[in-house]
Symmetry: none
Subunit: 223 residues, 2 copies
Amino acid sequence: MNILLVEDDAVLADGLVYTLSKSGYSVTCATTGVYAEHLMLAQDFDLIVLDLGLPDMDGLTLLRQLRRRKVSMPILILTARDGINDRIQGIEQGADDYMTKPFELRELEARIHALIRRCYAGFHNDIVIGRLALNTRDHQILADGQDMMLSPREYAVLEILLLQAGKVVCKERLAQRLSTEGDALADNAIEVYIHRVRKRIEPYGAVIRTLRGLGYLLETADA
Amino acid sequence: MNILLVEDDAVLADGLVYTLSKSGYSVTCATTGVYAEHLMLAQDFDLIVLDLGLPDMDGLTLLRQLRRRKVSMPILILTARDGINDRIQGIEQGADDYMTKPFELRELEARIHALIRRCYAGFHNDIVIGRLALNTRDHQILADGQDMMLSPREYAVLEILLLQAGKVVCKERLAQRLSTEGDALADNAIEVYIHRVRKRIEPYGAVIRTLRGLGYLLETADA
DNA sequence: GTGGCATTGAAAGGTTGTTGAAAGGTTGTG
DNA sequence: CACAACCTTTCAACAACCTTTCAATGCCAC
């Protein structure tokens, strides 16, 4: 997790870099607004900690510029200006949080952690097989990044196979998963669904192999 | 935009309900933790403002319970406990922001707005889909810059879809949002409103796609 | 109050996608 | 070859959704 710290007070900056680094963040420090912008062109950051009193420009100006440029990463303002109007301005102009000096390091850390938790939570695909990707949270399966728009049953079948990719999934397991109310599905119905799913995934280099008497197994076509 | 206010001090609660309502939020107040949980089952909220000193349970306990149940909506703690350890605990246990009493109403409002902006609109003050725009500050839906003059229910439907633009919104969620008192709306009523909203937004390059069995999804027409 | 207008959601019928039984063909095994 | 397991296609029943209509309700101006 990369943090950009924009702070001109060398002592404070050093302390922050030290503490945040110890907590597992990778911290880069800029002492001026111009340098901060320069760094952002060269590097990807996940969060910005921004002091408002910079030597070359007002921090709020930098904030506004970033937001106008659709830079969406979370920004936490850290400043000596503790007037109520300053705080409201900072937040309304696009900051996610606002802390005034003097502050407790541990609270800053907690708030940084909260922002990262909020902004980057649950963003990954659970499983990727070839050109297929399963995202259980959104309940969708992507092929080349596009939703495959499977019917509920088709999704259920492919989900099991993806979750157990490379391993055999027996018919009983599939039958159980597809049956709504205890009463398992007929074998033939499963074969029908395997057939449908096969047709859907075939164009994307994924294959369902039949292991006679055992079950089915998903793998990439070339394997 | 529905806010759940969990606060047992009647005077403070009344003031907050009044102010936030005037800013365009729909505010429901619970005076105990148990009642808050009860409300959350019956209704759909976008944000929680949580006082820690409740008569029947500790606010932090409620917070932990919610997060353990994977309730992910933004939560802002509002409390008299201003010890550094309280603040850190509150944030570490899942709160997104932490304000101590006494506080300025305007700052609370700004922070609420920041959370909504962050959680539902990326970072922007407006959510724009095609030629539609939802202004998160004054709670208006504009088409080509002009107020669409939707009925309350139509507005509620379109607001949810805009806030979750590009993501699936299930019928239950819509039903809960449209129901005033627990008793969810019939599926058909929702279909009727989807139909009405579709007709209203169609001329402005926005489309509501149906995902059979899952829900609805708002996107631009060309996508 | 009262008439007029917007809003709401139940009802009913039409449309479309989903489901799985049925039936016949194919492949592998003993 | 005989048999079982599996494949493939078809189709009717079904459930989810769309659309229109309309009576009940709330709201506002007069």
